[in-house]
């Protein structure tokens, strides 16, 4: 096929897609309407299961299997990062030097750290009640810990961050989600069915398995992000590639 013919085929295909796209856009519901068939049904199902935050009900109950996929994507990418950014044989590790921090920065970061940590834990714990949940709160908790790097230096962060433990907790969070899902099988229901009693509406213990799955995601995301940033920070601060030193020595 000549390149001219190929361009024609491309133009015909592009034009077809454009026409169909414009036609489909005319059939779309108006932007930002107050009612939506799926929204109404999701809210109804969430209220029937005593979950105040409909988004959490969709994430951890009505479509809990989708969330398992999302969680596994994060888990897989963290594992991939750990493998890619590992210290290879020709790389050396320089201990980080103590850094001087401007007093206002230190003061601000040290005040912000406990507040941010508390907000993160609050967002995780209230996932079934108010906007937020394990994903959002987990990232907030993980970033809160890293304020110590800004407030003091990398050595202080390393002291409160035994990466091995966080790796174990990351895997445990992923496993807990699967185990709660499998527990539903024991009761005779389908995988990830909300099998626990629904509890009192708008209390911390409401929503059946929603708070449990939410907490599992919170642990997994918080530890996963800590491990992810630990690998990036190790590469940026500590790990020196050694092969160039050898070449330089051989050259002199």
């Amino acid at each position: 096929m000549s390149s001219r013919l190929r361009l024609w085929v491309l133009a015909a295909g592009g034009l077809g897609v454009a026409v169909l796209f414009v036609l489909a856009c005319f059939d779309l519901p108006a932007f930002g309407g107050l009612r939506h068939p799926y929204g109404d049904r999701a809210v109804h199902a969430a209220l029937a299961r005593h979950t105040a935050n409909t988004v959490s009900s969709v994430n951890f109950d009505q479509r809990a299997f989708d969330t398992l996929g999302e969680e596994s994507i994060l888990f897989g990418s963290v594992v991939g990062t750990v493998v890619l950014l590992r210290q290879t044989r020709d790389e050396g590790r320089l201990p980080p030097e103590p850094a001087t921090v401007a007093p206002p920065v230190r003061r601000y970061a040290l005040i912000a750290l406990p507040v941010t940590l508390l907000i993160g834990l609050y967002v995780i714990a209230h996932g079934q009640l108010s906007p937020g949940g394990g994903f959002q709160g987990g990232v907030v908790v993980a970033t809160a810990l890293h304020l110590l790097y800004i407030a003091v230096d990398y050595r202080a962060l390393e002291r409160i961050r035994p990466v091995g433990l966080y790796e174990v907790a990351d895997a445990a969070g992923e496993a807990a989600y699967l185990l709660v899902g499998t527990a539903a099988l024991v009761t005779g229901a389908a995988f990830l069915t909300n099998f626990l009693p629904y509890g009192t509406f708008n209390t911390l213990s409401s929503g059946g398995t929603v708070p449990l799955l939410n907490a599992a995601i919170g642990v997994e995301v918080a530890c996963g992000v800590v491990v992810l940033l630990a690998r990036f920070l190790d590469q940026a601060v500590e790990i020196e590639s050694g092969d160039r030193d050898d070449e330089a020595e051989a050259g002199t």
Partner: protein, 89 residues
């Protein structure tokens, strides 16, 4: 129309921040613009009454992603600097 004004302004802000993130070429500055872009997106999600998504966007888009970009840049620059030092020797 008056009801849509905040949303319209938010969308314009997103467009402006997105364009700025593309036009700024230095990766370090780009990560700051990316952070602002994430903030603008979070604002739009909030205006569209999606606070859950806004929270995710705030945490990941305007804090985590720029931080990872900054750390990668630091690693690459450090390597380049040590190479240059060796060339001088």
């Amino acid at each position: 129309m008056a009801d849509d004004l905040p949303l319209l302004l938010g969308l314009l802000l997103v467009a402006a921040a997105g364009t700025a993130a593309v036009l700024v070429r230095d990766p370090v500055r780009q990560s700051f613009v990316l952070s602002l872009f994430g903030l603008a997106l979070a604002l739009v999600f909030l205006l569209l009454q999606a606070p859950d998504v806004a929270l995710s966007q705030l945490a990941v888009g305007s804090a985590l992603t720029p931080l990872m970009v900054l750390l990668s840049v630091r690693k690459v620059r450090r390597k380049a600097r040590s190479e240059r030092r060796e060339e001088h020797e």
